[in-house]
Amino acid sequence: MRNKLILWFSVLLLVVLIAFMAKDLFTSNDPTDKNVYEYDLNSLREVDSKLVSHKESKQIKINADEIHAIATDQNDQIYVGTDKNVIVLDAEGALIRSLKLRQPASCLTVMDNGNIVVGMSTRVDIRKPDGSLRNSFVVKGERTYITSIAVQDENIFIADAGQKIIHHFDMDGNKIKEIGGENQEEGIKGFVIPSPFFDLLIGRQGELWAVNPGRHAFEAYNFEGQQISNWERTSMSVEGFSGCCNPSNIAMLSDGSFVTAEKGLERIKIHLPSGDFKSVVAAPELFEEGTIGIDLAVDSNDRILVLDPVKGLIRIFEAK
């Protein structure tokens, strides 16, 4: 009796299986079905409020058609590179002066002596604090596109997203060397830069940090061009970076932690010097969806200045 039951159950199951396979073969999916390949980021845009370490304390409206870059100096003055000029503001956002540019600024940085170094497509202008031109030079190369500049003493490091390389120049515009090109002997894989976001900064020990966005990695080099450190965090969760190329922009806090800005999932985060995730500064909900080119700067009080190019604002975040 039991065997008979097992037998008929097995036969029934077999027939059901074959029927299922036939149904699958002959019936097509409902065309109104949800697109299973859809890249749905909505759930990833939600951030646990416990992870948020900063609050927005101030917004400064910038009167410009386009704003591209932000930097601070030792006196916490704020410099904003726009499509037409460099706007200099005091720490509270009051206008100090405006310097006209020959081309839209793509990036800028301020030296310890107050000189302003502005990157514009393929050209670098070095302006004195009063706005007069100290030097100007062009970075050669058919595909050159300058996205970031970092300065240490007399050394200017220029991130070239087009050629996927860092150029090392002196103040007079003489090229010293190239850094970060693929070198299998030294184990350097090269920069992967699918979009024009390739940021640099000088670390606390004077080392040069570069983002390798296609690898979701940070790489540190000495001035001889040797890689001395790196870390990488690929993840769809808040602990890492995702998409083709992130983070898009970076800055550094006084304790050596990295502040990162991402595109796709527009968010600002802090990563410890080891690369481990520390906290969220600004969740994606604070930005318009599709915002790209969020630049960052940090002042002497570790206030994080976020340039929001869609809203035309400098947004200042302070620790809670």
Partner: protein, 420 residues
């Protein structure tokens, strides 16, 4: 105990293979919290020439070895060892591809599509088991086919099926073979591979649907021996036909049958034919009448089958992606319906609707003729099955059914007769 060891080794192998599989990612896979699951690669990487040759040589070696175990050594243990090897190599390591079962479609596509060059290894995997079957019976099914081997491992409590039920279910592989040939000939799909219940398990990448189907087949295998081989496998149908005329098929007894009946219930797939007494022999007159009747019924069944199936040729053609897309486009109303991915893809391809409709009409025509042939084939199979049921076969001894027997060698150890 042997069963337990077999299952344990299968599980161990799964773990080892999974570890290798997990190491192949260059970047960690992104974790999609939205529930999105990444589509998996459905085919293993193409085999380099030398390795394809190794596969073919191993197939020949495994077939030779198992044939030797069955015919010379009469050893079930040898069959089990070869089965485990095949399961490991052709199943898990080669990820079930290339397999003889699916190679039927490669051969059909090569015959109907001059632009398709069949890989030599696929051709070899199709032909070599047939050659062995022609000489030695279905020794390939016994333990070289990984699909058969995996089911055999799970056979723990075999129960016997009624003869009529076996006959009815036994028609399914013929229909499946017909459909597979139709879809391969029209370049529509390789449905045998698409619905291979075990290949996803071998590759550790089965969709939930196919994993459930595979698991259910294995569950059935615990009680009904080799359900896929017997009631679905299209290659088994071809081997069954070839095996019927095999020169040296497995014989239950090594010498003369002493009618001890010990082997009577030893076959888990009920492929042992019992002796038929002389007095049951049919008289000539009745046999002639039966022959005339069948000669009329079979063509009628073929025509009816062809007519019925040809009426469904449009439904059959819907499996073809071009026909399905043309149909979808024809009924698409941009005001009330949401555009599907397929339509969106078509729009961006630059092709005109008219071109697609013309191609689709051509394919439909192929399906019309193809479904007549398919229907006729199904009618013929029904007719011949009917004829097989009514035909008288005189038999003195307990014999393996040359078509159905998969040469698993279970029955051999039941025979007390010593080799002469």
């Amino acid at each position: 105990m042997k069963k337990v060891l077999s299952i344990l080794s299968l599980l161990l192998l799964s773990i080892v293979d999974f570890a290798t599989f997990a190491q192949t990612q260059r970047f960690p896979r992104p974790e999609f919290e939205s529930g999105y699951t990444q589509p998996v690669t459905s085919m293993p990487a193409p085999r380099a020439g030398i390795f394809a040759l190794v596969d073919v040589l191993l197939l020949i070696a495994a077939l030779s070895l198992i044939t030797w175990f069955i015919h010379k050594k009469r050893s079930r243990t040898g069959v089990v060892i070869t089965s485990l090897f095949s399961l490991v190599y052709f199943g898990f390591l080669r990820e079930g591809c290339v397999c003889s079962v699916g190679s039927v479609q490669n051969v059909v596509l090569a015959l109907f599509n001059p632009g398709y060059h069949i890989p030599l290894s696929a051709l070899a995997f199709f032909v070599i088991p047939l050659v062995y079957t022609l000489f030695f019976g279905r020794t390939f099914c016994a333990g070289v086919c990984p699909l058969g081997a995996v089911q055999d491992v799970f056979l723990l409590r075999p129960v016997s099926l009624k003869k009529w039920l076996q006959k009815v279910l036994g028609l399914i592989p013929w229909i499946y073979l017909g459909l597979a040939v139709l879809y391969a000939a029209t370049g529509t799909d390789f449905i045998i591979c698409r619905y291979d219940p075990f290949v996803g398990i071998f590759r550790f990448n089965a969709t939930f649907f196919m994993f459930a189907i595979g698991a259910a087949f294995l569950l059935i295998s615990v009680f009904i021996a080799r359900p896929y081989c017997r009631f679905l496998c299209p290659y088994g149908v071809i081997l069954n036909l070839v095996s019927r005329v095999s020169k040296n098929h497995l014989s239950i007894t090594p010498a003369s049958c002493i009618q001890c009946k010990l082997c009577e219930n030893s076959c888990p797939i009920d492929a042992i034919n019992k002796p038929v007494e002389v007095k049951q022999m049919e008289d000539k007159r009745s046999a002639t009448q039966r022959f005339i009747l069948l000669a009329m019924i079979i063509p009628a069944l073929m025509i009816i089958g062809g007519w019925v199936v040809s009426n469904f040729h449009e439904n059959l053609a819907m499996v073809n992606s071009k026909v399905r897309l043309a149909n979808e486009l024809l009924h698409f109303d941009a005001d009330t319906m949401k555009e599907s991915l397929e339509i969106e893809g078509f729009r961006t391809s630059g092709k005109t609707k008219e071109e697609l409709y013309l191609e689709s009409a051509d394919i439909l025509k192929q399906f019309y003729y193809g479904s007549w042939i398919l229907g006729g084939f199904i009618g013929l199979v029904f007719g011949l099955s009917l004829a097989g049921l009514t035909r008288y076969r005189y038999r003195e001894d307990y014999e393996a059914d040359k078509g159905e027997c998969v040469s698993c060698a279970r029955c051999l150890k039941y025979c007390p007769v010593e080799k002469a």
